[in-house]
Symmetry: C4
Subunit: 330 residues, 4 copies
């Protein structure tokens, strides 16, 4: 990282005005070609609104990532399906090897030979091994020895996945569903607010906001441009209550003099990048959010979220996150 600073500290490209100009352009990674006015850049869940074709099967499957990010319900369903499938598969193999080489309980008690094989398989896979059914031939013993190894590895995998799901750093931050343009000191400000929904402490928070909008080039072609928005405060050390982020609309702001109609016509989207440290595990957490032009309330301000002071403890009401009231703009 330091090397990068070292490399680029010399004044860049002094002999080409165009190069210099391009280097100064704010681009946060979307490029200039996404000018379709009808789709957002960042979806509400923080993913990007871009599809890919011709990726390899393995990249498309992306198994580990999916198993980690799917819901708990889906995850346990997949585990159950895998368990039933594996047992069915091995039951079939034992059938081929001869169900009568699994000695012990009478088949009829367990609904016939297939189910005897199935239950023997489950007792082998989980290594419970009661022994009331046991392999009584060389071939069946081999299969069982292999299956018990598979079983242990499979549950080793499940252990790792469970741990990975639990320990994954996730920012439990809720963004207000709308942003507002409200009076702010002697000017106006574009504002949104966030709360930490968990009792986990987040520290060293840092937020950046970019405005993305489509502008005509000198030749009339549309191009998407990006502007970093200056914030009243973009970093805080602690995050015990709610935090209202304010971009003051001063004369330097790209929003200066803008009307709601301007934002709509330029397909404006406010891109927010959030990062912090989860104190429980000292892990970094990141998330993204975006507000489009139609998610901004002009001439509204946020109502306080504090619910008075009860028994010496300040109380924060999370249901009030989206509460606003009208406020005349400056």
């Amino acid at each position: 990282m330091d090397s990068s600073n070292r490399h680029h500290s010399n004044p860049p490209s002094a002999d080409s005005k165009l190069v210099e100009q391009e280097e100064r352009r704010n681009d946060i990674g979307f490029g200039t070609k996404l000018t379709d006015a009808h789709s957002r850049l960042i979806n509400k869940d923080g993913t990007f609104n871009i599809a890919r074709i011709n990726s390899s099967l393995w990249d498309r499957l992306n198994i580990y990532n999916r198993l980690i990010t799917m819901s708990w319900g889906q995850f346990f369903s997949w585990l159950l399906v895998a368990y039933l499938f594996t047992n069915t598969l091995f039951a079939g193999i034992y059938m081929l090897a001869g169900a009568d080489t699994l000695k012990g309980v009478d088949d009829r008690v367990l609904n016939g030979p297939f189910w005897k094989c199935f239950f023997f398989s489950s007792q082998t896979l989980t290594t419970v091994g009661y022994g009331h059914i046991s392999p009584d031939s060389f071939l069946t013993s081999c299969i069982a020895a292999f299956e018990s190894m598979i079983g242990l590895l499979a549950f080793a995998l499940a252990t790792g996945l469970l741990y990975a799901r639990f320990s994954r750093p996730v920012a439990h931050v809720r963004f207000s569903q709308i942003a507002v343009v409200a009076p702010y000191l002697d000017v106006n400000g574009w504002m949104f607010r966030i709360i930490n929904t968990r009792a986990n402490q987040l520290i060293d928070l840092s937020i950046t906001v970019s405005l993305s909008r489509v502008e005509p080039k000198p030749d009339g072609a549309l191009t998407r441009k990006y502007y970093g928005l200056n914030l009243e405060r973009s970093k805080v050390t602690f995050f015990p209550t709610n935090w209202t982020l304010v971009h003051p609309i001063t004369s330097e702001s790209p929003l200066f003099g803008c009307t709601p109609k301007d934002l709509e016509e330029s397909d404006s989207e406010f891109l927010i990048s959030f990062q912090a440290m989860d104190d429980t595990f000292a892990q970094g957490v990141h998330t993204r959010y975006s507000y489009r032009y139609n998610e901004i309330r002009w001439g509204h301000k946020f109502r306080p979220m504090f619910n008075g002071n009860q028994q010496g403890v300040v109380t924060l009401d999370l249901d009030k996150l989206d509460d606003t009231e009208e406020a005349a703009l400056n």
Copy 2:
């Protein structure tokens, strides 16, 4: 992070003095509204003194975080309760399916059918599976196959939780219980000290101290303000012994000319944020601490913690952390 620098490097808000002023205000995340003089901001265990209402059940439970941060005694008690509960549950299910379909040991030996079911359940859940009790019907076999899977997953979970508890980065740093105002060179200094209670090495330590106090606004309303306190030394590379942190009370200090009574009346609290790297795992560790006005001893200084040099090794006596003696202020 770098992008943030890039965005905000332009001089902010030159056309509004109020905006500029607000941007310069030190706010570490508590806001200006916590002006109740009877409660502290940071509790002695490093948590914040703020309650939340209307969070979702799931957020309130925050299961993983609780299981990780509860004491070892509580943790093992919960494991035992969960184990007994699950076995009782499955014992009930086996009873419904018919205790007589679990073949083997005579019920009377194990205090009747319920306990036979209970012990069979425990042998299935832990996959010990002696086999002296075994499922002798289709239905019971199905339940047992399911229970053994649940058992493996449950212990997979326990494995992950145990590892997470053990490997969680915790700063084993002890703060002196009181801070002092003592003579320091040719001025006075506000001081506290810390030790590393473990043999783990902490490296690259960094500490910030903020003073929070309530001040009247021009209109007489109370508002909470924050001041970063300059430290004699806020970063060190190594932490082999104790470390006394000193804020020199020079004329630039917000404490300059303050009396104990001033601190009390302004509900002063010194907020400390500590971070370091635990060398064993190269993990960052963070902690917080605070001293309120009534936890400061004026005109006292810390006594050395070194206990002489025994057999060529310098010895540090951890019991002396809070030892102070009177010292006339400059």
Copy 3:
């Protein structure tokens, strides 16, 4: 890290021009002596083209690292080999202790005493323990007690390895196979491009490019020199699509005025260091790549990778990563 800045902020070595000059030389760690024109510095898989002799056996084995970085096929093969080997070993031990002390199934059913011992071993190692074969002497019981402990530890190890393999941070970034020198604004640029092959989001990307080439010293001896190449943009926050990295060949560029022949004669290699944050686990990912002089197409430019806009979603065609077309240089 901060301490390093503190230490070295004073102007260095003002009394020795040679020292000062050396301190300013860009060296990214390869030194000046690798001047062989026939081998590259960074291999295509990101490793370095340097061998070591006389490292210790343990360092050469580097077991953990190998088990983590080998392919999944190799990994499972090694697990299987280890499982078979351990069982064979313990089968031998049980044979020595007396195969007839393992009571239960008739030897002949399982192809003789060795296989009875082998299967008993596998049932002990995996803790499946059916019990249709069981240790019927003090000595055999001791061995079995030991083996079951080994078994659990071995599978504990396998659990850890599986988790480590899965959770290892890997940058799934594909570099274009060739770099190009193409017209860029009013000058030319040296360019390559990259895509993220996975749906995982990479954020806070940062890239540095160094040019390494062999130059004659005043005394005629060859020495390898390194130049940091200025990039149009070396950091982006998001990486939703492809990213074309551009080094503008302005008059400050070490490539200014260079011909393909110059690059070949100086054994030029472009060394690329990539780092980003994988958003799923907030883990840093790093990778390296290099382009040698013969992997650069002069007078070609990259074709766009966007495949139109289908159903409101912009589509990226990963197969077009290496597509170039001729373009007259400025």
Copy 4:
């Protein structure tokens, strides 16, 4: 971290020369009181040469840290001891509950009732559960149900410990056993060198060197002082070969004009702090080293470690790390 910069950017303590002077003093965390001339500050294994008394038992045990950092031999010995101890304990409990309630194999076959209990315990603890011995009373079943739970937790713990030991970031860096003072360009330099002993790639290396020596204060009392030593190069991106660290002894160096005798009399020690990123896991690795005055060879220089170029691959001979030869100083 940024907040710290914000807090302390104002010029410090302008009204007290002594405070200002103290703030400028380099102190890397050892303080000024360690002036014993006969013991080093940093031991050869990177630990600090400082003892503690009166720490709590729990802090002194520091179990997790010990289990992670002890050698593999010790670790497995402890596991074995714990396994035998637990089995002996539970064997005793089963004896108290009545060895005859464990039904199955004849006691005499297993050397009497204690060993029957012992082996039953081991089969329960590891969940192998053959069932040729099984609990045949309510009390014994209860104990066995508890023991099998303990067993699973214990091996869960072992799984976590094994993973933690394996995945712990360790810098496999070897420092030359001696440092040298050798001619360097037109001055002299204090030098040592390091190699990476593993094939793991280390990237983004950074090294700081401090000189610690005892100096008399104006009042004659001895005090330990610290100086950051300027390095020819303190950061590199890649570390494929060896790296010679050079502190040029220019007129600004605290070593300027020093003789070996000066270093001995001032009990000089060179403290080295190393950090890098292990590329396999993108984990930070840290280590420390120190050279005392008697580990420096004056008028020697390091011999190259390259062993020619074999089959197009540059070869590094690790045995040559400590090779020096005489060289006349400037």
